[in-house]
């Protein structure tokens, strides 16, 4: 049984690992191959700061809230292991700031110690009159993706550096299932007008005295169009750009100024911070995550594609829940195939 995974960002690698962990024991012939044109540290996941935090509202999409929770709980479970450092996983507390009271988010009971900010805490952030404090997790792509790659390599998963142009391209030669984790470029494999870039630009600085994440919100401009500061292991990420429909991956001087000025206003000491890098990336935005099966005609055979893309700016936040869901879909496919191929009496 051969499975081709397209995409080596957090979604592709974690889905591959989840499927291999669950099924290689049941299906000894299971062979997984990962195809991607970009590998760490050049994927979208590597550019993300890595903070676990969903958007403010799930818009009634309870499935996504559940996947977020599964991811948080899974990561929290790994916190106490010595692997945490290698995974780029650590606890971090911080602030979400608003200019007016807002309803509590869907994730208030998922994170640790969620509460409103006290008046004294709000003194730290002039211009903001309401906010939350909670403890969440950081999962840095620059560590997590290599960690996933190592786990997969140990399991005999093969990697191919290649830009895949079609599902057919990878599904000849006995490949039964294709896992489409191609993120922003899913539209190249199969048109999807609902998938649009949510362009972001970030500045990486050296500011090791910053120990909290600070995320401001401007309800009129929308998510991530308001300054945010996220301290990582080595660098602190300054951001606050979300441009829907903008495909440019070039850094813009205007966006740089906007991020720099607004973050320095938020934390005056940042003016002294040394800038070490700048990066633009495209969040693969979609009204909801596309996580579903599709039967595809592959030559004169029927093949199965499991789509797992469209995670916008919350890929890291939701990845493990989606990987588990993709694995369940894979399990269904397996069951169906077994029913067709296995003689009566034989069981999985």
């Amino acid at each position: 049984m051969r499975v081709a995974v397209i995409g080596a960002g957090v979604i592709g690698l974690s889905s591959a690992l989840c499927i291999h962990e669950q099924f290689h024991g049941l299906v000894p012939s299971l062979e997984l191959e990962v195809y991607a044109d970009h590998f760490t540290p050049h994927t979208t996941s590597d550019g993300a700061a890595g903070l676990w935090q969903p958007y403010l509202s799930d818009h009634g999409n309870l499935q996504e809230t559940l996947w977020n929770k599964e991811t948080f709980d899974y990561l929290l479970g790994h916190m106490h292991s010595a692997a945490a450092k290698e995974m780029g996983l650590f606890l971090i507390s911080g602030y979400n700031l608003f200019t007016e009271p807002v309803p509590d988010p869907s994730w208030k009971n998922i994170v640790l110690g969620f509460r409103n900010l006290t008046p004294k805490e709000l003194e730290l952030f002039p211009g903001y009159s309401y906010g939350w404090f909670n403890t969440a997790l950081m999962l840095e792509g620059r560590s997590y993706l290599p960690w996933l790659t190592n786990r997969l390599t140990q399991r005999g998963v093969k990697f191919f550096h290649k830009k895949v142009e079609s599902f057919q391209e990878v599904s000849g030669d006995g490949v039964d299932v294709v896992l489409n984790c191609s993120g922003m470029r899913s539209g190249d494999l199969q048109p999807d007008p609902e998938l649009q870039p949510g362009r972001g630009q970030i500045i990486k600085v050296l500011a090791p005295w910053v120990k909290h994440f600070i995320i401001t919100h401007n309800l009129k401009s929308g998510i991530y169009n308001s300054p945010y500061i996220i301290p990582g292991t080595e660098f602190t990420v300054l951001g606050g750009i979300y441009q829907h429909g903008n495909w440019s991956e070039e850094n813009s001087a205007k966006d740089h100024k906007s991020v720099w000025d607004s973050c320095c206003r938020l934390l005056p000491a940042l003016q002294k911070a040394k800038i070490v890098d700048e990066w633009s990336g495209l969040r693969p935005a979609r009204p909801s995550v596309r996580l579903e099966r599709e039967s595809i005609r592959l030559g004169n055979l029927q093949g199965e594609v499991i789509h797992n893309y469209g995670h916008g700016g919350f890929g890291i936040t939701i990845h493990w829940g989606c990987a588990m869901a993709a694995a369940r879909l894979f399990g269904n496919i397996l069951q169906e195939k077994q029913q067709l191929a296995t003689p009566p009496g034989s069981r999985l």
Binding site: F90, K120, E123, P208, K211, K272
Partner: protein, 341 residues
């Protein structure tokens, strides 16, 4: 008295902050700092500089709380300013965990730090050996940056700073009108205070930049305090020990205890092992005294004996000491006008 000459003995956090307060409350004073040690070789440089107060048995609680509040307010303003990184002052959140529920669940300082509350079940589940905990956000003063920043402010205010070992306060009476004793552990020799005793502390300064939260065991012996470049792992409380040499067995023990609170520390690199002697006393000595010898008087203000809580109350005690210096000046001016009559 046109320009009172004030000597401050000691250049740890107490000496430097007291000198700074004096320049602020008495701009006409000429202030000189004298010390045999400066950053990075003071006791203050060993400490993590966390604002979590120690309770002094013989100092009234309201006074300790006032000291802490003044210190917290002062540093809070710096942490919020453009100077925060230069001054080494930053906010840090975390947990204090207890193996058994403490008698006092709400310490006197719980409303001074930010967001103080009991830890949730989910948070406590991370610490299977502990059954109660407190979560809050407080401030940390990283040394050397904070001491260097204080020195910079002092120099800008015209303060002279000299390396000098003062063996006896009387050495200073011909050059100075008032002496301020911030000698910390040195006060044991300098003023022969038998109530002052060392409590030896050993710490590890490690490289573990993924640790963003503090964790402290309520017994005060095991703690993890993330600073700007280093995480301080501690510690020990060895009453009466004067040894300044790091002990290898103690290093291993501290590392193990901290790893049991935070397993990811297994991957931390130990960069330095340091030892400091906490200048401990039943109460902090912030007090005026007039020394007298052969008809000559020397006004002295003491500000020492802060034990494990120096950073937490430094600005508050410095303010009080500066106020006492003001009283000394008034007394000197009073007696000099009487002398003129």
């Amino acid at each position: 008295m046109a320009s009172p000459k004030v000597a401050v003995v000691g250049a740890g956090v107490i000496g430097l902050s007291t000198a700074l307060c004096i320049t602020e409350t008495c701009p006409s004073c000429s202030v000189t700092v004298l010390s045999d040690q400066f950053s990075p070789n003071t006791t203050s440089d060993v400490a993590a500089g966390m604002l979590i107060p120690h309770t002094y048995p013989d100092t009234p609680i309201h006074r300790q709380k006032q000291w802490f509040k003044e210190t917290f307010t002062y540093l809070f303003a710096i942490s919020n300013s453009a100077e925060a990184s230069e001054a080494g002052i930053h906010l840090v959140s975390g947990w204090q965990v207890f193996k058994s529920t403490p008698n006092e669940e709400l310490p006197f300082w719980s409303d001074v730090v930010l967001g103080f509350r009991a830890m949730s079940e989910a948070e406590l589940s991370k610490f299977p050996q502990h059954r109660f905990g407190q979560a809050f956000t407080t401030l940390k003063c990283d040394c050397p940056p904070y001491l260097l920043w204080l020195e910079k402010r002092l120099k800008a205010a015209g303060t002279q700073i000299y390396t000098r070992k003062v063996a006896d306060l009387w050495e200073l009476h011909s050059d100075y009108d008032i002496v301020v004793n911030c000698a910390g552990m040195g006060a044991h020799q300098l003023v022969r205070d038998k109530q002052l005793f060392p409590v030896r502390g050993q710490v590890l300064k490690v490289h573990a930049p993924w640790v963003k939260q503090f964790i402290r065991d309520g017994d005060g012996l095991t703690y993890i305090y993330p600073g700007i470049h280093r995480v301080t792992l501690g510690g020990t409380r060895e009453k009466g020990s004067w040894s300044l040499s790091p002990d290898a067995g103690t290093t291993r023990d501290i590392f193990d205890r901290c790893c049991s609170l935070e397993p990811s520390l297994q991957g931390a690199r130990v960069m330095e092992v340091k030892v400091g002697l906490r200048p401990s006393r039943q109460c902090v000595r912030v007090q005026r005294e007039v020394l007298s010898q052969g008809g000559v008087e020397l006004p002295v203000v003491h500000n020492y004996g802060h034990g494990p809580g120096g950073f937490s109350v430094h600005r508050g005690t410095a303010n009080e000491a500066a106020h006492l210096v003001g009283e000394c000046i008034s007394a000197l001016q009073g007696s000099s006008s009487r002398a003129k009559l």
